[in-house]
């Protein structure tokens, strides 16, 4: 197994990236300030801390995919463009070693970044409120790591399938648009498109939970639902739009299903990306 050799080399190079340190520093300071300055309205310290974390997830929901995509989109495409891949494959490595090594390294980089942001936010929040709700912190941290990991996997998989920077950039942008923006911009969301096709174009009866189920395919929705598992009921976000008469939430929209959504996004793109990489001509 020389996954380690590839991962260690890549991680070492990442540690020397000035831009990476710059981004981490800026975001870290931002998190600390946010953590310290945030105060709920007429709340106990513990509630204030919980609300801070609720805000934090709303922020990371949009930011973390960008961080993960930027950190990973050139992971393999860059080696193919520069020709560095020839050295990686001139020692006893297989393409699988290169693919997994890059994945492991970028997962480590992004996870370390998330851990750093959490540490600074917690430090700020603790300094202000004097409480440390460990269970909540760890819970949100784990779900956030999963969320970040899905975007690292997607970016590495896309990166493995292309040989040039321009195409790697295009695919990273494309995935942010399709997986994030299409799920948050009102009026241009996947739910409203599906609703329009289903009702206006095809003339079906309104089926709210069908639209909700389709919304749930995004890691973004999974993150919002997934964090609901770890926040107290009072701070749960209503992720899905459901009228009163729709009744109980169907099982397939449950919070726990978010783990399945993450799992699919972790596995499927990687499998497809690896197969493409395995069969590619690396020139």
């Amino acid at each position: 197994m020389s996954v380690r050799a590839v991962a260690r080399r890549d991680f070492r190079a990442a540690r020397r990236s000035r831009s990476l340190w710059a981004v981490a520093t800026v975001l870290g300071v931002l998190m600390a300030v946010l953590g310290y300055s945030f105060q709920g309205y007429q709340t106990t310290p513990i509630q204030s801390f919980q609300q801070l974390f609720r805000q934090l997830t709303a922020f990371l929901m949009l930011l973390l995919p960008i961080v993960a995509l930027v950190a990973s989109y050139m992971s393999i495409a860059g080696e193919r463009e520069s020709g560095g891949i020839k050295f990686l494959l001139s020692v006893p490595n297989t393409r699988r070693d290169v693919f997994l090594g890059k994945l492991v390294s970028r997962l480590a980089v992004v996870s370390a970044g998330v851990a750093f942001l959490f540490a600074t936010a917690v430090a700020g929040g603790y300094a202000r409120n004097g409480v440390l709700p460990l269970e909540l912190i760890v819970g949100v941290f784990v779900v956030t790591l999963l969320y970040g990991a899905t975007f690292v996997s997607i970016a590495v998989a896309l990166s493995a399938g292309v040989a040039a920077r321009s195409r790697a950039i295009a695919s990273a942008f494309g995935s942010y648009f399709v997986l994030v923006l299409l799920f948050v911009v009102p009026g241009l969301s996947i739910a409203s498109i599906v609703r329009w096709v289903h009702q206006t174009l095809l003339g079906f009866e309104r089926n709210v939970d069908l639209y909700n189920a389709i919304t749930y395919v995004s890691p973004l929705t999974a993150y919002r639902q997934g964090t609901n598992m770890v926040f107290p009921e009072s701070l749960a976000q209503s992720v899905f739009q459901r009228p009163e008469e729709a009744g109980e939430l169907p099982a397939y929209l449950a919070e726990e299903v978010s783990l399945l959504v993450f799992a699919v996004w972790l596995v499927v793109p990687l499998a497809v990306g690896y197969l493409r990489f395995r069969g590619a001509d690396l020139e």
């Binding site: 560095g84 393409r95 069969g279």
Partner: protein, 320 residues
């Protein structure tokens, strides 16, 4: 067992046939020069050997192992200086070398290898900032790690200064003497001449020659031309020289007699014969130059094609 064996190896890129039904055997322990003009299919063949790209049809075996089935096993025993590489990572020359040593679980001394390729004082600089020639030296050092059974070097002298080429040659020779098979490509025939046991010449994806350089020379006609400058026009001499065994032709150009011999040894006969009958003021002799041999084999490479497709100035002249 052959070090390299390809069977009907073909690689197409769209409409372009880069390598066309190639059958090539390189024996273990030999130094093999892989020649051809730019775009002849040399690098494509090497990339196929190393499983960087996949054949359209046919198969490749390296050290008896199928290149696609077990590329990592092959890479354990082969040192590679690839073509079109890049040092993009922020690692120094020594760190790049150390990485190869660690990955190969070898015990080479990085400083020793750096000194061997003439980079003793540059190990702590970023490989990215090296000149092309220095990167080429570093790549060679990386290929030499763990004393592999075979070296595959793709255009190893690119960007090297004469001193570097000299050093490269002596390293190749030294390793070959210890039994390492060396397979290297070049588009400069004279470069190969000094070190190779055998050469293969590629042209437009096909192997057009495969032999030792001496044998290639002989097969190309083995011609030797001798110019005899005489005191007076040697018209009569020309006819009598033509009758000598082994003389292909004799032509008179003013005071000079130009004799094409089928074999270099005939030149002596010609000179003896001529000296008895005329006053010779100068003798020059030439064997087929490697360059013209190379041009013959590859039809002049790309330049010939370009020349053929453009109308020459002569052709445009209208006779008055």
């Amino acid at each position: 067992m052959a070090a390299i064996r390809t069977r009907g190896l073909t690689k197409e890129f769209g409409d372009l046939i880069a390598v066309d039904d190639l059958d090539l055997v390189v024996e273990e322990g030999e130094v093999f020069g892989f020649l051809g003009p730019n775009g002849a299919g040399k690098s494509t063949t090497i990339n196929l050997l190393l499983d960087f790209i996949r054949p359209t049809s046919g198969s490749v075996e390296v050290l008896g192992i199928d290149a696609q089935a077990a590329p990592a096993t092959i890479r354990e025993r082969v040192g590679v200086l690839p073509e079109g590489y890049g040092f993009d990572d922020p690692l120094t020359g020594r760190e790049n070398l150390e990485w190869v040593i660690e990955t190969r679980h070898a015990d080479d001394d990085p400083d020793e290898l750096l000194a061997l390729v003439g980079l003793a004082d540059d190990g702590d600089r970023m490989a990215k900032s090296y000149s092309k020639g220095m990167q080429q030296r570093l790549s060679l050092a990386m290929a030499l790690v763990d004393d592999p059974d075979m070296l595959v070097l793709d255009e190893p002298t690119t960007g090297l200064d004469p001193n570097g080429i000299q050093q490269m040659r002596s390293v190749i020779r030294e390793r070959a003497e210890n039994g390492t098979t060396v397979f290297f490509s070049s588009h400069i025939l004279s470069e190969v001449e000094a070190v190779c046991d055998r050469v293969g010449v590629m042209s437009e994806g096909k192997l057009v020659a495969l032999d030792s350089i001496e044998q290639l020379r002989e097969n190309a006609g083995g011609q030797a031309t001798i110019h005899l400058t005489c005191a007076s026009s040697p018209t009569a001499l020309g006819e009598s020289v033509e009758a000598i065994d082994g003389v292909a032709s004799a032509t008179v150009e003013a005071e000079t007699l130009v004799v094409d011999c089928l074999d270099p040894s005939v030149k002596v006969d010609v000179v003896t014969h001529a000296a008895e009958r005329a006053t010779i003021t100068d003798i020059t002799s030439e064997t087929v130059s490697l360059e013209s041999l190379f041009n013959d084999l590859t039809d002049g490479g790309r330049d010939a094609e370009a020349a053929a497709s453009e109308p020459t100035t002569d052709g445009q002249e209208v006779p008055q």
